[in-house]
Subunit: 225 residues, 2 copies
Amino acid sequence: MHILIVEDEASIAGFLRKGLEANGFHVQIASDGLMGQKMALDYPYDLIIADVNLPRQNGRDMVEILRRQKVDTPILMLSALGTSNDIITGLDVGADDYLVKPVQFDILMARVRALTRRHTGRLNSEPTLVVGDLVLNQDERTAKRGSRPINLTAKEFQLLEYLMQNQGRVVSRASIAEQVWDMQYTMSSNSIEVYVGILRKKIDQPGSPQLIHTVIGEGYVLRAP
Amino acid sequence: MHILIVEDEASIAGFLRKGLEANGFHVQIASDGLMGQKMALDYPYDLIIADVNLPRQNGRDMVEILRRQKVDTPILMLSALGTSNDIITGLDVGADDYLVKPVQFDILMARVRALTRRHTGRLNSEPTLVVGDLVLNQDERTAKRGSRPINLTAKEFQLLEYLMQNQGRVVSRASIAEQVWDMQYTMSSNSIEVYVGILRKKIDQPGSPQLIHTVIGEGYVLRAP
DNA sequence: TTACCACTATGCATATACTCATCGTTGAAG
DNA sequence: CTTCAACGATGAGTATATGCATAGTGGTAA
C-alpha cells in the first residue's frame, strides 16, 4: 500500500511518514505541488495526502489537474484553513476528504483506512475470488468447484486467478501473456491454449455448467452461468 | 441519484431532505436503525447518511452489518459526538466519512458530492454503447437487443461498435474500411455490404424497429427509432 | 529413477472471412 | 407509366484463420 505525501514543511511530512510507516504503509514525499503532480502521474499510489498551501502550485490546483487527467486515486487534503468555504472548494475540485491542521494522528489513520479500503477493496484485499460455484482462495492457493477440491500447478493457478479477477470481461491472449507469463505475446507459442485446455479439463467437467468460454478472435472469458 | 437518510429526529431529517432535494437528489428517510438496514438492503442507494444515535439499532452497528452483507454504498455518518474515538470507530466499521453535528449544510453538500462522485464514477464508466434498445458491452464483448442476446463474431462486433460510436451520423464505406478493416477502401470488394447484411439479419429482426439504415450513395447510419 | 511441470509440435475440425454471380431497388429520363 | 442504369442486397461456395486435443521434449526435484 503506497501513499504519496505532498507537504513542504519537513517536520509535518516526517511526522506523517513515521506514523504511516509504523502502520505498514510505504510512503513517498513530494515537497511542492508540481513535484507532487508529477509523482502522482508517474506511479499509481493508493492514496495521496496533500497540503493546500504548497510552493510552486497549491494543493487545490494540483488536485484539479490530477482529476482532469483521470487520476482517480483517493486524495485527502490537509490545511490550516478551516473555514467552510475552504473545505467546500477542496472537496469540489476532486478531493475525497479534508482535515484541518493540526491533525490528530489517530483520526488521520482512521480516514486513511476508510479511503484505502474503498479503493482497493475490490482488487487486492479480498483473499478469495468467486465465480458461480468456483472459489479460489489466494492465501491458501487452493481452488474448489462446489465442494470438489481442484489441484492446480503454479501456472494453472496464476492463469485461473487472472481470469477470475477479470470475470465477465473478455481477456485477450496478449494480456494473458503479459500478466501471467510476463512476456510479450507472440503467436509462436500455444502455451496459453494448452493451459486453458488443462484448466477446462479440471474445472469444467461434464455435469456442471461451463465457466470458461472462448471468444473466437478475441480471447477467453470466465463467466458465471 | 438516490440518498437514504437514517435519522430519528424529524427536524434534522426534514432539514436535510429539503436541502438535498433542492440540489436534485431523491431522498428517502428511515427513522431507526433496523428500518434503515432493511431499506439499504432493498434498494441500491447512491449514498446513505446515517446518524449514530438511533432507536432500535445504532448507526455504527447498522453500518457494520451492511458492510458484512456486502453493501458497498458510500456511507456518511453524523453524530453529536466529536471525540476522536467516536470518529475512529465510525470510520473503522465501514463508514466513508464522518461529520459532527450541528452540520453546516454547505459542507455536507460538498462531502455528498465527493462521495457520490467517486461511487458512480465506477459504475458509469462501464464501457457500454447504447442505441435505442440495442446495448453493446465492450468489456464482455456481448450485445443485446432488448433482452435478446446477440452472438457476434469479431468482425461483426467491430463493425457494430464502429456504427454505434457514430450513431446518428452517416459513415461512408471508406471510413468503415479504414476503421474496421484497416485498409484503403477499394470498390473491388463488397465485404462491407455483406457484413452489414449479416448485422441486419442479427439485429434488425422483423418485429422491432429498424436501426441500420442505408443512405444510397453515402454509406450507412445507425439510428435510434 | 520416477514423477511432475512448463512448454512445444503437429494435425485435425470448424468457425469465420471473404468472393462472386445473381437478384432486387431506386430514381430520373423518356 | 415504363425503362434503364447505378447501386445495393443476398445466397452459395471457397479459402483461411483459429482453436484444440494429443503426444512429445527437456528440465528439475524428490
